[in-house]
Amino acid sequence: MRYGLERLVSLHGLRGWIAVLGIALVGMVAIPVLNAAVPAGSWLHLPDFVVPLLGKFLCYGIVALAMDLIWGYAGILSLGHGVFFALGGYCMGMYLMRAIGREGVYRSDLPDFMVFLDWKELPWFWHGFDRFWYALPMVLIVPTALAYVFGFFAFRSRIKGVYFSIITQALTYALMLFFFRNNTGLGGNNGLTDFKRLLGYDLHEQSTRVALYLISAGTLLLAYLACRFIVTSRAGRILMAIRDAEERMMFSGYNPLDYKLAAWTFSALLCGIAGALYVPQVGIINPSELQTSNSIEMAIWVAVGGRGTLVGPILGAFIVNGAKSYLTVAYPEAWLFILGAVFIGVTLFLPKGLLGIGGPFAALKRLAGRRARAAGAPQAAERPAARSRSHVGSER
C-alpha cells in the first residue's frame, strides 16, 4: 500500500486527472469569473441567481456521492439520507438563527419562532449554537452519531436489501413527524429561516454567495477524492465483495458489520456536510427536507448517473435537479409524470445509468471504466442470475 502524495496521484490515471482537474477549474474559476468579472450586459455574464442555484446542486452532488458510496459500492439502498442531510442543515440553521441576534422581527434575544410560541428561554440543546466553533463540529457529529447507532443495530442484526430500505424510510418518516412538532423546538412547520449573516458576512451579498459556492465546489472535489480513495483502497474492495457475496466474505473471516458501518457512517457524514452548506445558500431549512420522497429522489440521482461510478451520481444530481428547477416552473403538472417516468425508465432501460451508455458520455465512461477495472466490476450485482444467488434467500 502506498501512502501520501503517491497514493493521491494513483487515484486516477493521467486522463482521469486531466478530466477531474478540468471540470474543477471550470466550476471553481470560470463560473465565478463569468458572474463577477464579466459585465452584466454581456451575453457571457452569468446572472446572480445562478450562483446559489449551482451551489445548491453542488450540495446535492455531495449527497449523490454519499449515496453512491453506500448503494453503488456496498449494495445498501438507503431511503434515509435525507435525515443526515437535514440534521447537518439544522445544525447550521441553528447557528445562523442565533447569528441573527436581536435583528429578528421581535427584536428579541430568542429566535423569532420561540417568541411567537411565547417561550421564555432557550431550550437546552440550543446552547452553544451561538458560536460557530461549536456549531461546526455539531454538523459533523450529530448526523454521524445517529448513523452510527442506527447502522450498528441494523447491520448487526443483518438487515439487508429491501428490509433495510424500508426501515430507513420509516426512520425518515418518524423524524419528519418529530421535526414538524412545534414542541420539538426547531421551528416546527416553518423550520429555521430569515438568516442574516454567517461569521459576520451578509448572506445576501453576492460575494458571500460566491464564496459559499466556492466552498461547496471545493468540498465536492474533496469528497469525490475521498470516496475515490475509499473505493480504490483494500477496504473498498472488501466492501464490494460484501455487496456481491456477503456470506462468502463472512466465511473468509471478514466481519461485514465493520465495513458496512464505516461506509455508512462516512456517507452520513458527507450528507451532513452537504446539508450544512446547503442551508446558507437556500436560506431555509424545514421538515419538508425530511419527506420520504426527498430521500428517494436522492437514490434516483444515483441511478440516473450510474451506480458505482462516483462521477455518474454527481452528474445525475445535476441533471435531475436542473430538470426539476426548470420543469417545476415551466410545466408544474407534468413534473411528477416526468419524474415518475425517469424512475421507471432508468430502472428498466438504463440499469447502469447514463454512464452505461456511450455517445456523448464516452469520455466519462472511460474514466469510470478504468476505475471499474481496477476495483472489480460493480455490474456483478446486476447479473440476472441474482434470483438463484446465494444471499437472496436470506434477504427475504
Binding site: F153, L177, I300, E333, F337, I344, L348
Partner: protein
C-alpha cells in the same frame, strides 16, 4: 397513522324531525274510544303511550282509569291549544307554557311550527300549519288540508319574549318526544342547564323513559339536583347514584362536596356523605378509564384493520417475489377514489339505493385495483424481480405518476365520501362510550377479508401454488407451476385487497390524492414486524401496531409514540430478524 376524526365521524345523524309531520287529530281524536288509530304516521306505535285506544287484553278497570286520565289530559291539551290560537300575547304565552308542562309530545309539531313561523290561526280559533311551500295548510287536530289562500289565515302575535318561551317549551317537550334521538339530545341539553325547579319534570320524564341511554342521563341529572336537597338521605342517595352513573361531568359537583371552605369547615357537613362522594369520584374515574380503554381498543382495532388490508397484499407479494411495492399505498388511494366514483354514480342513477353504495364499491374497488395490479406487474415489475432494490425505485415512480394522474382527474383537493346511514352514528355501550358503526364495519371487513384470503391460500390450488413458489421458486417451477402466472394473480389479489382497504378508509375521513402515502410506511412496518408468508404474522403485526399506536398516543403524543414504535421494531428485529412468524424449513435454505 390516525387522522383526527372528521365531524361526520362523531356526530350521529340528526334525527328526522318526525314531529313536524302533521298528524291526524292529536287533540280531538283522543276523546272517544272509537277514534281512529292514534299512531302517528312514521312513528312506531309505542307502549309508553298510555293514552292508547287499542284494546289491549288488560283489565277493564285499568282501561277505565286510563281513559279517564286520557280524556282529562286531552281536555287540558285542547284548552291550551285554544289559548295558543288567541291573538292576545299574554294568553298565547300562557298556552305555550301549558303545552310545555303538559308534556304531550303531540303538541311538539304545533310549537315547532310556531317557532318556524308556519303556524297560522284561522277565524274561529282553529290552528293551521303551512306546508313548506306555503301554498297549503293543514288543520291541527284533524289534519285536513286546504289551500292556504282560502282560509283567511293570520299570523300569531310573536315577539322575542314569546320566542323564548317557545324554545323552552320545545326543550321540555322534547324530553317526552317519541323519537329517542330527540329525547337523548334534550336530556343532554338539560343535564347541565336544569335547576331544582326542573326536578319534578325530570322525574316525570324518567318514569316514562324506556331508552337506557336517556334514562342514564336523566338519573344523573336528577341526582345532581338532589345534591342540594336539605334531606340527608336524599343527598346520600344522590351521591351514590352519581357514583353509579359515572358521568365525568359530575366530577365537579362531587369535588365541591368534599372541598374545605375557607373557614376550615367542610362544604358537606355529613361525614358519611363525604365518604360516599369520595367513593363515587373513584368509581367515576375507574369507569372513565375503562371507557377510554374500550374506545381506544376499537380505534386501535380499526386502524389495525386498515393496516392489515394494506399489509396483507404487501406481505404476500413480498414473500412471493421479494420485492416491495412502493405503489401499494396508491392502490389504497385508488380504492378510495373508486368508492367516491361509485358513490356519485349511485347517487345520480339509483338514489333510492344510495345507502348500499358501499357494498357496490367493495367489488368495484377490488376489481379496479386488481386490474391496476395486473397491468403494473405485467408491464413493469416482472422485469425487475431479480433487482429488488431497483423495483423499489420503479414502483415509487409508478406511485408518483398515479398520484399526479388522480390529481389531474379529480383535482388536488380532498373529495368527500359520505357515510351511508347505516355506517353513521354508533352503538352506545354506555351513554359516554359510543362505538362508531364505521369503525365496527372496518373491523368486520378486515376479519372477513383475512378469512377469505386464508381460505384462498390454504384451500385452493392457486393458494397451494402461491405457497409453493414462496417457499422455493426454482423447485416449484421445476414441478410444473407456472410461476409467472402465480406472480401475476397474486399481485392482482394483493392490490385488490388494498383497494378494499381504500373503501374502508374512505368511510373514516376525506379522500385525497396522497391518502396512500400516510399508510404505506406503517404497513411496511407491519410486514417487517409480522414476517412474510404467514397470514397470522401480518394479522398480529397489524393489530399490534394499530392498538399499541393508539394506546401510546395519550402517554406522549402521536409522534413520539411513532418514534417509540420504530425504535421498538428495530430492537425487535435484532432478536427475530424474520419477523414474528417466520417460515420454517425449506424457505430458509440457501
Amino acid at each position: 397513522m390516525e387522522r383526527a376524526p372528521s365531524p361526520r365521524e362523531r356526530a350521529p345523524a340528526s334525527a328526522a324531525p318526525d314531529g313536524l309531520r302533521v298528524a291526524p287529530a292529536p287533540g280531538a281524536a283522543r276523546n272517544t274510544a272509537a277514534a281512529p288509530d292514534l299512531t302517528l304516521p312514521g312513528i312506531p306505535f309505542d307502549m309508553r303511550n298510555h293514552r292508547c285506544n287499542r284494546l289491549f287484553p288488560c283489565g277493564i278497570a285499568l282501561l277505565m282509569t286510563l281513559l279517564t286520565a286520557a280524556s282529562l289530559h286531552a281536555a287540558d291539551l285542547k284548552s291550551a291549544l285554544k289559548k295558543v290560537a288567541s291573538d292576545e300575547r299574554g294568553t298565547l304565552m300562557e298556552g305555550i307554557e301549558t303545552l310545555g308542562t303538559l308534556g304531550d309530545p303531540d303538541a311538539l309539531p304545533v310549537l315547532e311550527a310556531l317557532r318556524d313561523d308556519t303556524l297560522r290561526v284561522a277565524p274561529g280559533g282553529k290552528l293551521y300549519i303551512l306546508s313548506p311551500d306555503g301554498k297549503r295548510a293543514s288543520e291541527v287536530g284533524t289534519g285536513r288540508s286546504a289551500p292556504a289562500d282560502s282560509l283567511k289565515l293570520e299570523e300569531p302575535p310573536i315577539n322575542n319574549a314569546v320566542r323564548k318561551s317557545i324554545d323552552s317549551s320545545i326543550a321540555q317537550l322534547q324530553l317526552f318526544s317519541r323519537n329517542p334521538e330527540q329525547r337523548l339530545s334534550a336530556a343532554r341539553e338539560l343535564a347541565n342547564r336544569a335547576t331544582p325547579d326542573d326536578a319534578p319534570k325530570v322525574r316525570a320524564a324518567l318514569a316514562r323513559e324506556t331508552e337506557a341511554a336517556v334514562k342514564h342521563i336523566l338519573q344523573a341529572t336528577l341526582a345532581r339536583l338532589d345534591l342540594s336537597s336539605s334531606d340527608r338521605t336524599v343527598r346520600l342517595n344522590a351521591v351514590r347514584t352519581l357514583g353509579e352513573t359515572g358521568d365525568i361531568q359530575r366530577m365537579n359537583d362531587l369535588q365541591q362536596l368534599t372541598a374545605v371552605k375557607p373557614d376550615g369547615a367542610f362544604a358537606e357537613p355529613d361525614r358519611e356523605i363525604r365518604a360516599a362522594a369520595a367513593a363515587a369520584m373513584k368509581s367515576i374515574q375507574l369507569r372513565q378509564t375503562i371507557i377510554s380503554l374500550g374506545g381506544d381498543l376499537l380505534y386501535g382495532l380499526s386502524l389495525g384493520s386498515v393496516l392489515l388490508l394494506v399489509a396483507l397484499g404487501l406481505a404476500i407479494t413480498f414473500g412471493l417475489m421479494g420485492i416491495i411495492n412502493m405503489a401499494h399505498g396508491e392502490m389504497l388511494m385508488l380504492g378510495a377514489y373508486t368508492t367516491y366514483v361509485v358513490q356519485n354514480i349511485v347517487q345520480k342513477t339509483l338514489p333510492a339505493y344510495f345507502n348500499w353504495y358501499v357494498l357496490l364499491a367493495l367489488p368495484a374497488a377490488f376489481a379496479v385495483c386488481g386490474v391496476a395490479g395486473i397491468v403494473l406487474e405485467r408491464a413493469i415489475l416482472r422485469f425487475l424481480y431479480n433487482r429488488p432494490l431497483e423495483s423499489l425505485l420503479a414502483t415509487w415512480g409508478i406511485s408518483l405518476a398515479l398520484i399526479q394522474s388522480v390529481r389531474q382527474i379529480f383535482g388536488a383537493a380532498n373529495v368527500t365520501v359520505a357515510n351511508p346511514a347505516w355506517l353513521s352514528g354508533g352503538y352506545a355501550v354506555y351513554a359516554d362510550l359510543v362505538l362508531p358503526y364505521n369503525r365496527i364495519f372496518i373491523v368486520l371487513l378486515g376479519a372477513i377479508v383475512v378469512t377469505l384470503v386464508w381460505l384462498l391460500l390454504q384451500h385452493t390450488s392457486l393458494g397451494l401454488q402461491v405457497r409453493a413458489v414462496t417457499q422455493n421458486r426454482a423447485i416449484a417451477s421445476t414441478m410444473g407451476i407456472r410461476t409467472a402466472q402465480v406472480d401475476m394473480w397474486t399481485f392482482a389479489l394483493g392490490s385488490g385487497i388494498a383497494g378494499i382497504g381504500g373503501v374502508a378508509l374512505s368511510q373514516l375521513g376525506n379522500v385525497g390524492p396522497e391518502l396512500g402515502q400516510s399508510y404505506i410506511v406503517d404497513s411496511f412496518m407491519v410486514v417487517v414486524l409480522g414476517g412474510v408468508g404467514k397470514i397470522a404474522g401480518t394479522v398480529v403485526g397489524a393489530m399490534g401496531l394499530g392498538i399499541v399506536a393508539k394506546y401510546l398516543e395519550p402517554l406522549s403524543d402521536a409522534v413520539l409514540g411513532k418514534i417509540i414504535l420504530l425504535v421498538f421494531i428495530i430492537l425487535f428485529i435484532q432478536r427475530r430478524p424474520q419477523g414474528l412468524f417466520a417460515l420454517k424449513g425449506r424457505a430458509v435454505e440457501n
